[in-house]
């Protein structure tokens, strides 16, 4: 125990003496948070829209004007021919082209149906999907207007029974993406600090040769590891604290649940991430190697965490892989607690899984840490 205290004192002195590093540890995540929270969004805006109106009737003009009125679409031009529309998409000057065929109005009135052609630039697949939804919703809206008009003109007796779904968005009623993203980004920041700093720290001592000096002392493996990981565990918690305060002040992110739950979860989560960092440091000789390995895991963990893309839309094998992704659990839990107000009981499954994970990875790390080569 006493040995651990000597180690802790030493680590903290070294950390706080390294002023530039301290700034990096605390300032960079804050800047990241401010940038990412504002930039990372699924929302697609300023969609460049053009139309080809081959019908030139009140109906077709009504449809185009609905697009022009929409907040998501920027009206670029009316093209006289389909060829020009294609060229515009080809050149990338337009994202969505609506093509209204001849006899659009006549077909609607006589046959009660008509067809429209929509061309969407789908180089960015997810943006295209969102654009498709916007387009569909505007056309639906147009349908309603038309139906009312047609019905009035025709027989009022034959009322079609319509089923309307009214979506109720729980936990984030305005579908505010900042609210959705900021908690997840907080997870990233905490992860980075723990994964990189702890691993690098040990490999750095390897490079300097001081680790050899430590290995020649009768220090116990677990003492050394606890002494090495605790400071970064504390830094990780501090980082989360700072991040939560900023989330509240700068973005007014709600905290429906109990913040204590987050810290409880974070304390287990950090054990996992620190264990992974330590494990990496055991198999690398230089900070460069460790950095690349840590990045390898960081990128996979982050992109497969459900932070940017929903896990439900991944292929089955990938979903199975995400079971081993600690970042996924924390992203889930932080959103549950902050936005939904989940209780300890709600997050217990994740907590248990992560607890087991921490146990296994740290056992592996301690086992693979060799004082003797």
């Amino acid at each position: 125990m006493r040995t651990i205290i000597f180690l802790l004192v030493k680590e903290f002195k070294q950390i706080f003496r390294n002023k530039p590093m301290l700034v990096i540890i605390f300032m960079l995540p804050i800047i990241q948070l401010l940038i990412l929270a504002n930039a990372a969004s699924y929302e697609v805006r300023n969609i460049r829209f053009a139309a080809i109106d081959a019908d030139q009737t009140p109906y077709s003009r009504e449809l185009v004007s609905k697009f022009r009125a929409s907040a998501q679409f920027d009206f670029i031009a009316m093209y006289p021919s389909e060829k020009m529309g294609k060229e515009a998409v080809q050149q990338g000057t337009v994202d969505v082209v609506l093509h209204i065929p001849q006899n659009f109005e006549r077909d609607l009135q006589k046959e009660k149906k008509s067809q429209l052609l929509v061309t969407i630039n789908a180089i960015n697949g997810s943006a295209a999907a969102v654009e498709n939804i916007y387009v569909t919703s505007i056309i639906k809206d147009f349908n309603k207007t038309v139906q009312v008009a047609l019905r009035n003109a025709a027989d009022t007796a034959q009322k079609p029974k319509e089923v309307i779904a009214i979506p109720l968005f729980w936990f984030n009623p305005e579908l505010d993406y900042t609210t959705f993203m900021v908690p997840g980004i907080l997870v990233l920041l905490v992860t980075m600090v723990a994964l990189f700093l702890a691993g690098m720290n040990i490999v750095r001592e390897k490079e300097l040769g001081t680790l050899e000096q430590i290995n020649v002392t009768p220090i116990k493996k677990h003492e050394f590891i606890i002494g090495k990981l605790t400071p970064f565990w504390i830094l990780g918690i501090a980082e989360l604290m700072v991040g939560l305060v900023i989330a509240k002040i700068a973005f007014d992110i709600p905290m429906v649940g109990h913040p204590g739950l987050l810290f409880l979860f974070a304390s287990v989560y950090l054990l996992v991430v620190l264990g992974i960092g330590l494990y990496i440091s055991n198999f690398t000789e230089t900070q460069q190697q460790a950095m690349f390995l840590a990045w390898f895991f960081a990128v996979i963990f982050i992109l497969m965490s459900g932070l940017f893309t929903p896990i439900e839309s991944m292929p089955v094998w990938a979903q199975v892989l995400t079971e081993f992704n600690p970042v996924k659990y924390f992203v889930e839990v932080i959103r549950m607690v902050m936005l939904k107000g989940s209780s300890l009981k709600d997050i217990t499954p994740q907590l248990v899984k992560l607890g087991l994970y921490a146990l296994v990875i740290n056992a592996l790390a301690v086992w693979s840490y060799k004082k003797v080569s």
């Binding site: 006493r2 040995t3 205290i5 000597f6 180690l7 004192v9 030493k10 002195k13 070294q14 003496r17 390294n18 300097l208 040769g209 001081t210 050899e212 000096q213 430590i214 290995n215 020649v216 002392t217 009768p218 220090i219 004082k371 003797v372 080569s373």
Partner: protein, 244 residues
Amino acid sequence: MKNDPAIHVENLTKMFGDFTAVNSISFQVGKGEVFGFLGANGAGKTTAMKMLIGISKPTSGQARVAGFNVRTHAEEVKNSIGYMSQKFSLYNDLTIKENIVFFGGIYGLPKSVLKEKTQALVDELGLHDHADALVRSLPLGWKQKVAFSVALLHNPKIIFLDEPTGGVDPITRRQFWEMIYREASKGVTIFVTTHYMDEAEYCDRVSIMVEGNIEALDTPNKLKERYQVGSMNEVFLKLARNIE
């Protein structure tokens, strides 16, 4: 047990894949002896030393250090030895005092002893003005003297020095060897590697390692006699040349 040698090595071997870094070496070092462990770069000195201090497992053979088997009781060995490595092994971003407290602390020295030792060490090395300076800011010679003193904090029976005077000026080297002798006179066994042949002359006995084998082991005088040369430098050159 009282007359046990400080270091007892028998057929100690270390292989890295097909390469034999240390080839079945055997020797003994008596208590209080200053033992010079010489050899060209890559001869296997550091590898052999790492096995003796318990941070590298022997491929085969036996070694007992301070009465403990390095293979089975490495941690007990570590309690009885001090080690100062080729690379500078104090923390540059801690002060002299902080280094002393840290290393003394992990060897389990009580607080009062730590305080006493710190004071004694600072007095002895005349570092009053620098005790609170970061080690980084000290000249290399001073750093090495502090590192040596730190390696002695827990009163080890044997001290291993891996090229302790590399890159240090002649005056400091002289002072360093005075410190070594002072410890040897207290009964501490010194195991030292060096590339300076004048330093080899200071040793009680010297072994010369060539390509993983110990080619010669005796007092400097006897070695010079056997090879009929006037200095250790010539002994070393003769042995190294024979191999080529």
